[in-house]
Amino acid sequence: MKIKQLSLFLENTSGRLVDALSLLGDARINIRALSLSDTSDFGILRLIVNDVDRAYQILTDKHYTVLKSDVVAVEVEDRPGALVDILRILKDAEINVEYTYAFVERGGEQAILIFRFDDMEKGIRALQGKGVTLLTADQVRTR
């Protein structure tokens, strides 16, 4: 139950984010979620898009350094405390979260949390054991 995320290496200079994202916009690629980690010199832009392979191709053609990596998408109710419930499950199973970001579904009832764990398989087992809903790539694309 893993989905593919794209990670992009960007220099921390003005205009680099718009340069990269406009390539995707021009190609009609839809970004479902994004997160940007930055340091003073460089940043890593993480993207969930509707067409991973095409987006990867477009960016590598323009010499961006891009990585496809595995993350999990967790669906929770959009209510106070929902994220904490998930994090407690992970804490109890001694799983470390490398990073996470979130977005709200189109209907506004549910939220989707993107996670990267130090041990992906163990994290997935722990969540599924507690009956948490993990989404497939298709589900993420359409919701």
Binding site: Q5, F9, D41, H63, T65, Y99
Partner: protein, 433 residues
């Protein structure tokens, strides 16, 4: 294959005899025909007859690149212009270009030493040589051309640049030998892979690479990328162009054709000659050139020499080590000598790093600041900030270990550092000293 076994494997005592005979002749010609040398000899109360053996050589003052510039364009020539067959010139980015000239005999000599070079590197008359050195005033293009012609190989004179076409011709013609700068061979391999061609699957089996210093690590990387032997060649326009020295396939030093070009290694500060194995500046004396004889020319390249005959190929020509750097691109950072080649070695020793880097030196409030920009390739990239920070710190620590100087490492996006068709630009020095 040894192209000229009689000379390349000459017993050392006969070689010395030949060198001394030729030295006496060239000193006489230089004194009689070149006003600069007459003046220098006279000022030092030196007569051509005083130079009898190689031991007398250090009585002769050095010749510098500036002597060529000061005598621009033809003041250093020992023959009238109508005996000159070909004239080449350096790019001359600072002031006058350096002019070098060849008689017809000089061109024959150049062809001969370049044929020796090709054979020593492992090329044969059956090879198809794609010559991607620039044709024109730069001596690389024509020097390799003449050598391949003399050897009897087939030449594809593509000159430098137009990488896509280079790759197409390699595939269509089945070229087996590529001649170009090491950095251009890396660039070609990258372009090939970007357009879906695996350079390892082409017919190229041998690269004869030179015109800029490169490290052993870069050699390994090039050999791996192309699945070919990468052979280092050395030369310079003032002496003849390419064709001064070359490795044999054992890659254990560059055999220097000392029956035509006599080498010394000196301490660049004191001018004293250094023993075998010690690193210093290369000084060359042309023994047989007609148009532009040069006595004790300060080359500016840093290397060491051994006079032990090569066990692998049997040549008795002395061997110089891979060029370590140049006296003039040596950077002095907070009083410590730093060569770009050292930084290159560090980058390549960090797993998977590509040799694309730029050294930027600034001076902030009186302190030198060294920054190394390194392109982040897909191999180096991890999706986590801490992974990249670890990489950056590892490079920075290694540089400090090797150089004894702290460097700020900046990770930059691929293709942001300028690629070179000719010599790689590795250093930007913004200090105003």
């Amino acid at each position: 294959m040894i192209f000229d076994g009689k000379h390349e494997c000459m017993p050392l005592d006969s070689l010395r005899e030949l060198q001394e005979k030729r030295l006496r002749a060239v000193v006489k010609v230089a004194y009689e025909k070149v006003a600069h040398y007459k003046r220098v000899f006279d000022e030092n109360r030196l007569k051509p007859e005083d130079i009898k053996t190689l031991d007398d050589l250090d009585k002769i003052p050095f010749t510098y690149k500036n002597d060529l510039r000061d005598n621009y364009p033809f003041g250093m020539l020992a023959v009238p212009l109508h005996d000159v067959a070909e004239i080449h010139a350096s790019s001359g980015t600072t002031g006058n270009p350096t002019v070098v000239a060849y008689t017809k005999n000089d061109i024959a000599l150049w062809s001969h030493v370049m044929a020796r070079t090709f054979a020593c590197a492992g090329a044969t008359p059956n090879d198809i040589v794609q010559n991607a050195y620039g044709y024109g005033l730069f001596t690389g293009g024509l020097g390799f051309h003449y050598g391949a012609l003399e050897l009897g190989a087939s030449i594809v004179p593509t000159s430098s640049g137009q990488t896509k076409r280079q790759l197409k011709l390699i595939q269509d013609f089945g070229s087996t030998v590529i001649t170009c700068t090491p950095s251009y061979s890396v660039h070609m391999a990258e372009e090939a892979m970007a357009s879906g061609i695996d350079p390892r699957t082409t017919t190229i089996r041998l690269g004869i690479l030179g015109a800029e210093p490169w490290s052993e690590e870069m050699r390994r990387e090039i050999e791996e990328k192309w699945a070919m032997d990468a052979i280092d060649i050395y030369g310079l326009s003032e002496i003849i162009g390419p064709g001064v020295a070359v490795e044999c396939p054992a890659k254990n030093g560059l055999h220097l054709f000392s029956d035509h070009f006599f080498p010394e290694i000196i301490n660049p500060e004191t001018g004293e000659r250094l023993p075998d194995g010690e690193r210093g500046e290369l000084v060359l004396t042309t023994l047989t050139k007609e148009a532009l004889p040069l006595l004790r020319f300060r080359v500016g390249d840093i290397t060491s020499i051994t006079h032990e005959p090569c066990e692998a190929c049997g040549r008795t020509m002395p061997r110089i080590a891979k060029i370590f750097g140049r006296t003039d691109d040596m950077l002095i950072i907070r009083g410590i000598n730093v060569f770009p080649s050292q930084i290159e070695s560090v980058l390549l020793s960090v797993e998977g790093a590509e040799p694309h880097y730029l050294i930027v030196v600034d001076r902030e409030r009186g302190l030198d600041r060294l920054e190394i920009q390194v392109e982040v390739s897909e191999k180096l990239f991890t999706d986590e900030v801490k992974g990249l920070e670890t990489l950056r710190d590892k490079i920075s620590d290694e540089i400090e270990n090797v150089l004894g100087v702290k460097a700020a490492v900046k990770l930059v996006e691929p293709q942001t550092i300028e690629r070179s068709m000719g010599k790689a630009k590795r250093v930007i020095d913004n200090r105003r000293i």
